[in-house]
């Protein structure tokens, strides 16, 4: 590669990175500033204070919501990916009656907007006594991630060579053993990515959480953060400080999974 081409590449990358970072820097600046809306081009405040960040972490309402979000999102992602893995494997490997219809249904379900879905789900949770409970929300988040995860995992399982599985079969391994000991370990990158998707979906969702949860000991972080910035009374500093804390685990997950990210999600469909 010529030097000029490399230089040009870096110029483009730096420019795009600046645009990428700028809005995020504003959130950081707001979290560290005095809390009043501020103008100008420079996102950073004159005086930096870590007080809002430490204040939030010392606030029991915030730590409760943080714990709830961790519990709910982790459980939802684990349950969702587990359900999706076995379903996706079956859809990929077993031509059972209705497999095609199920796959089509899964794709179709992604096209139906969730706007009015909250009404029947509210009623269902109400009937099961799961309104305003963490388990109710875990159930909703877990199932809502199943279609996408099952579809993505099916695509990944499709790429496994059939010979490999047949060989195991000839050695006398049962379907479950093949799934557990051969297919799943090979699907680790795809499992990691679908887990990330399921976790992210639950971690950032606020409309359903706001509709179904009400007790302060149950609410999740996005609901609490949204409540900081009401129409008539907005504490942008607390919102921004909370946003930094909300973003941290996702960033860590992304960083940890980045080598799987490339290729993990669509390679099944690509190949």
């Amino acid at each position: 590669m010529s030097r000029g081409k490399a230089a040009l590449s870096y110029v483009v990358l730096v420019l795009v990175s600046v645009v990428t970072l700028y809005p995020i820097l504003w959130v950081v600046g707001l979290a560290l500033g005095d809390g009043l809306p501020r103008g100008g081009i420079n996102p950073f405040p004159d005086e930096v204070s870590l007080e809002p960040l430490s204040g939030l972490l010392a606030n029991p309402a915030f730590t409760t919501a943080l714990a709830n979000s961790v519990i709910i999102s982790l459980s939802a992602a684990i349950i969702g990916v587990s359900l999706a893995a076995s379903t996706g494997y079956a859809l990929s490997r077993f031509r059972f009656f209705g497999a095609d219809a199920t796959l089509k249904g899964i794709i179709l379900s992604q096209m139906f907007p969730g706007v009015v879905s909250s009404i029947p789900i509210y009623w269902l949770l109400h009937r099961c006594g799961l309104l305003d409970s963490r388990s109710g929300l875990i159930l909703v988040y877990a199932t809502s991630s199943v279609p996408f995860c099952a579809y993505a995992l099916k695509g990944w399982f499709d790429t496994l060579p059939q010979d490999l599985l047949d060989a195991a079969r000839l050695d006398g391994a049962g379907h479950w053993r093949i799934f557990w000991q051969i297919a799943l370990p090979l699907a680790k990158p795809a499992l990691a990515i679908t887990f990330l998707f399921a976790f992210m979906g639950a971690w950032s969702e606020f409309i359903l959480a706001q509709t179904f949860l009400s007790s302060p000991e149950n609410i999740t972080l996005p609901v609490l953060l949204r409540s900081y910035v009401g129409q008539f009374d907005a504490d942008w500093r607390a919102f921004a400080a909370g946003s930094l804390i909300v973003s941290a685990p996702i960033l860590a997950l992304f960083y940890a999974l980045q080598k799987h990210l490339v290729g993990g999600i669509t390679s099944g469909a690509v190949k």
């Binding site: 990358l13 907007p113 706007v115 009015v116 379907h175 302060p216 609901v223 009374d233 999600i265």
Partner: protein, 693 residues
């Protein structure tokens, strides 16, 4: 003994009770202090103000929710009609008659007044004196910081010209001569600079705190925050403009008892304690509330002069009407304000449009239709489906490798059960809902009336921003531009990052996926802030290059561009990552061969890389199209549909029909089905053969 037991079960006075409220800051702290002392069995649960009323309505209509709740009095009429409230007996407290009348209907009381709230004028004792009449103030100098973003906030100015939401007969009077005069005068004050243009409530407060504007028109809920920043805060009655005093709305926040409470008696007793003098005293002194308990006024005035000033400044406010029509009123009234103050529409046109829109919202629901034909069609469909399944089943030959039924059901059973229960059921319910209408009396079958009304753009005309066809056009443009930009930028960056000789590509790969990794309700709100007309960084950048700032939310195209910028920023990393994955799996021999043959970089890109890369991107593009088509969060949080719904896409429009205004769930469901149909058509025609649905 038995009698005592009965008494206990009928009204256990210390049963744990739940109270929902939306108070913040000092008010919330005062409430919690008072409850600990006077009613420890009542558990106060703070709700976010935005969305509180929807949440309450949902809970009350399912017999869920709190025993007691605190809410402004204006929903009284609607809740009464839904029989959601218990009638209360007045405790032995002298309430201000005005506050009391706000919570009563036909001399029955359905709530107990807790606090009166209306906008007041904040200033500084050391600051300049207010002009006797704002209309005569010299042009170019800002006097009063206020938001006029909502009918509630703009009402004082309109009311000074005599405007009222309803006429003497209780009919909506949105396009009255008084509204026209009030709006004209308000526009004049803004054009002359007496009122700074385009502030939201937080910015208005900040402008006053920083001393950029000497006065602030804001609610009593701002008091504690202002006191933190300003030592010599003064409170006075709203100013005079065009010879008349401003008249803000007076709302009375009251405690209501849910008709569904299992401890009705105890809840009523708790409501009496909450509104009683002891708790009111704490709320007044610690929470800065203006309590309607008359016997406390003198004492409060001595201990908290600020509170007395607040009370005096709120005299003469106009009680917010309790008519259920009010719920539909806010939206069109806000559209009229936006039209005149921000989009430059003429006053009469904007008011007439808003009045027509309100009439449309209040139009009676479609009539009930007979169920027989629908049931017949339904039976026919189910029968047809059964036959279809049966014929498939007959032709089906299970492959010999298929596991036993028991094993198979372990594999797919749990997943399918979850999908059926929580994914399929809501979709089928949504489909069914689209044939019904929801009114005060519950659901009734209306057949295809919702679809006809949407597709005919009833009462709107095709080019109206709220019509289906206009919104469809916006949605298609939105989706097309977004996906093209996502794919273009994503592939471009991936090609750059994929150059093997580029040493430092790793940190950029991490950095450039940040927009994808941060929850989008955070970054969407950050972008909204960047596009702010007054203090946004985008305008600051434009101005630093010598341009003039853009009022981003006042023009449809500008607001659309702002939404688009945000979503392109949010969406390119996904495509970049996908393209990187696809590039990694391209066979490198072909490229080498082409290089050997002397094909230039552009040639290789056009003839080898792109033809193989693009097909590999198709699944991601399909997914991206569906996501973008339904990108509710971005529209809702960035432009919010402004100006006047012209940047709404179909899914945000559907959300408004369901959850803002009139609760037209059937209508919203029909919107959802139409969206589904469009995406289905798209899926059928664009998916590669093996992916076809």
């Amino acid at each position: 003994m038995l009698a005592a037991l009965l008494l206990l079960s009928a009204g256990n006075p210390t049963a744990e009770l739940t109270l929902w409220h939306a108070w913040r800051g000092a008010e919330q702290a005062a409430l919690e202090t008072a409850l600990r002392q006077y009613a420890p069995h009542v558990r106060a649960v703070g709700m976010p103000f935005d969305g509180f009323s929807e949440k309450l309505s949902a809970a009350l209509s399912h017999g869920e929710g709190p025993d007691l709740f605190i809410y402004p009095h204006d929903r009284l009429g609607q809740w009464r009609r839904e029989n959601a409230l218990l009638e209360l007996t007045l405790p032995n407290t002298q309430f201000d008659p005005a506050a009391l009348s706000a919570v009563s209907e036909n001399s029955r009381y359905y709530g107990l007044p807790l606090a009166s709230k209306s906008l007041v004028l904040y200033g500084r004792h050391s600051g300049p004196k207010l002009p006797l009449d704002l209309a005569k103030a010299e042009a170019g100098k800002a006097w009063v910081a206020t938001t006029v973003n909502s009918y509630y906030a703009a009402f004082p100015w309109l009311a000074s010209a005599g405007a009222r939401p309803f006429d003497a007969k209780g009919r909506p009077a949105l396009n009255s001569a008084e509204h026209a005069r009030g709006l004209t005068q308000l526009k004049m004050l803004i054009d002359r600079g007496t009122l700074p243009r385009g502030l939201d409530s937080a910015q208005a407060r900040a402008a006053f705190i920083r001393g950029q504007v000497p006065f602030l028109l804001d609610g009593p809920w701002a008091l504690r925050e202002l006191q933190e920043h300003i030592d010599d805060l003064s409170i006075q009655a709203p100013p005079t403009a065009f010879g008349a005093k401003l008249r803000p709305f007076a709302t009375v926040e009251a405690v209501f008892v849910s008709a569904h409470s299992e401890h009705g008696q105890a809840a009523m007793a708790a409501a009496a304690v909450l509104a009683g003098d002891d708790v009111a005293m704490v709320r007044a002194l610690q929470g800065g509330q203006l309590v309607p308990n008359r016997e406390l006024w003198a004492k409060v005035a001595v201990e908290s002069p600020m509170n007395a000033a607040l009370a005096a400044a709120q005299q003469g406010a106009y009680p917010l009407p309790t008519s259920p029509i009010m719920r539909a009123f806010w939206g069109p009234a806000k559209d009229a304000l936006t039209g005149v103050l921000r989009q430059g529409k003429s006053v009469q046109v904007a008011l007439d449009e808003a009045a027509a829109r309100l009439a449309g919202l209040l139009a009676p629901l479609p009539p009930q239709v007979g169920a027989t034909p629908f049931i017949a069609v339904l039976i026919f469909l189910i029968f047809g489906l059964a036959v279809l399944v049966w014929r498939r089943w007959k032709d089906y030959r299970a492959p010999h490798t298929l596991p036993a039924a028991a094993t198979l059901s372990l594999f797919v059973g749990p997943g399918l059960a979850a999908l059926l229960l929580l994914v399929a059921t809501p979709i089928i319910t949504g489909l069914a809902m689209s044939f019904f209408a929801h009114g005060e009396a519950g659901w009734h079958l209306v057949g295809f009336a919702n679809y006809f009304a949407i597709l005919r753009a009833d009462g709107l005309g095709v080019t109206h921003p709220l019509s289906f066809w206009f919104t469809l056009f916006i949605t298609l443009a939105w989706t097309l531009i977004n996906v093209l930009a996502h794919v273009g930028i994503g592939i471009g960056l991936a090609l750059i990052l994929n150059q093997p000789a580029l040493r430092l590509s790793a940190p950029f790969r991490v950095l450039l996926i940040l927009p994808w990794a941060i929850p989008n309700y955070v970054t969407a709100l950050a972008w909204r802030g960047l596009f702010d007309q007054q203090i946004g960084a985008i305008n600051a950048i434009i101005e630093s290059f010598g341009g003039s700032g853009v009022a981003w939310w006042d023009q449809s195209l500008a607001a659309f561009a702002a939404n688009l910028t945000t979503n392109v920023w949010l969406g390119f990393p996904f495509m970049m990552v996908t393209a990187l994955g696809a590039l990694a799996s391209l066979p490198s021999e072909q490229l080498e061969a082409a290089r050997m043959d002397g094909a230039g970089a552009l040639m290789r890109l056009r003839h080898i890389i792109l033809p193989q890369l693009l097909p590999a991107m198709i699944p991601a593009m399909l997914l991206g199209t569906i996501w973008t088509f339904n990108a509710f969060n971005v529209i809702y949080l960035v432009s919010g549909g402004d100006p006047a719904h012209s940047t709404d896409i179909l899914v945000s429009e559907a959300y408004r029909w369901a959850f803002e205004g009139q609760g037209r769930y059937g209508y919203a469901a029909a919107y959802s089905v139409l969206i589904f149909g469009l995406l289905l058509l798209f899926g059928l025609f664009s998916a590669p053969r093996k992916e076809r649905v």
